[in-house]
Symmetry: C2
Subunit: 238 residues, 2 copies
DNA sequence: CAGTGGTCTAGACCACTGC
DNA sequence: CAGTGGTCTAGACCACTGA
């Protein structure tokens, strides 16, 4: 038997649904606690218990004397600098932009198969950009995912905007985490040439997979940095 | 003016203190909610609000019908495989151990100064181990911190146990996060020789700083991996 | 000023645990 | 069975916001 969910959780899920469905968009004001008491016919404590759940998920913020509001995810992009190359670079006062190198259909590489839960041999769309900092090549970025999603990302301009920020502020995704895997590899052939380094130069390879509010992988990406000039910072919490 | 803390937070802090001071050790049962109501002369809701705070920090767990218990941190070491080299390697069925290479007093390197909030020129104690997987060199590990702490870690056997697990299960630290910074550097001289790789081979360098429950850096460490054989996985949450 | 969220009280019934 | 935490009600007073 599935135990019936407690009332406060039902209300929490109902509100969560309204937010995910963009019925309550970023920045929108939630009904006041007394309004929710009336709507769901429960006591104030029950309402507050529901709101506490949403607050804990970072979905809403409460402002004393004003009300509760849906958070604007893009304004609190604290999922690590890797996931926000342009933002991080610009915040240090440097010029950052990218050049779209290619958009093509490929057979999903092994890491994408695993990250996205695909079958071997599935085809995916892959967009590649060369990211520049102060007019010097800084990194090669590759993003892989569902065709419709990648086309939407390209349309929203991958040469200026970070993927995470497009996903959250333009495409309505609600992200909760990013899975990352870092390793060090030698630069080779075309990659070395495009980054302007000698063959064999150590590169930092970071593969990142944003996870949405339902625990699903949205897409997956690979970033190749010059190891001598850039590093990847993150805070891992339990 | 510092605003007076609400009652429930005072109680939360009091209980948190008892846990941190090991007055309530891992696995210990907290007083029941009714006992806490009597002790602090507050209503049950207030008590539960305090416990909710501790629960959110992962410090206690509640068991219906039994009571609330202090969590055993070592049993939930999910702060990333980097921070648990031995544990992660052994869990894949491979032999993992280390060799203590040196323990010496040094002038704190720049990254340690920043991570630990020291002054340039301060001296710290530094222990180095060579970590082996299936009898082959896998990584060079260096840990830097306060003299007493490093000596305690060495005494608890850095050749067998992960730092995080020693800190949590033997030395009574309560860790909440780990700050990490990854980059790729070429192997050089002594380091290359000890890892058994050619000069210039890309190495993954991960610097990790465990953060305790009060937000303080406990110590800081640097790990040099062979980039072709190991990678660093982490899930970054908001 | 009225409306909002922040805090708190004094009760209640339930499901679960262990004796 | 008594003790525990899980859920919920119907109130209350406060501090803060904005008109």
């Amino acid at each position: 038997m599935t135990a019936p969910q407690p009332r406060f959780r039902q209300i929490e899920e109902e509100l969560r649904q309204r937010i995910v469905d963009n019925e309550l968009g970023p920045g929108a004001k939630l009904p006041s606690e007394s309004a929710l008491m009336a709507e769901f016919a429960v006591s104030r404590i029950t309402v507050r218990q529901s709101l506490a759940g949403l607050h804990a998920s970072g979905l809403i913020e409460k402002v004393n004397g004003k009300g509760s509001f849906v958070t604007r995810p893009a304004e609190t992009s604290n999922l690590g600098p890797i996931t926000g190359f342009y933002e991080a670079t610009r915040s240090r006062g440097r010029l950052a932009y990218g050049k779209l190198a290619s958009v093509r259909k490929i057979k999903a590489p092994a890491f994408a198969v695993q990250a996205l839960g695909l079958n071997t041999g599935d085809t995916v769309l892959c967009a590649t950009t060369l990211r520049m900092a102060d007019n010097a090549p800084a990194a090669i970025f590759m993003i892989i995912g569902d065709e419709a999603l990648i086309r939407a990302l390209v349309k929203e301009d991958l040469e200026t905007n970070d993927v995470m920020s497009i996903l959250e502020s333009r495409l309505g995704y609600r992200l909760t985490a990013v899975d990352t895997e870092s390793s060090a590899i030698p630069a080779a052939g075309d990659v070395a040439r495009r980054l302007g380094v000698a063959d064999g130069t150590p590169l930092l390879r970071v593969r990142a997979t944003p996870i949405d509010i339902r625990g699903n992988a949205v897409c997956t990406s690979e970033l190749l940095f010059r190891g001598d000039r850039y590093s990847h910072k993150a805070r891992v919490t339990r």
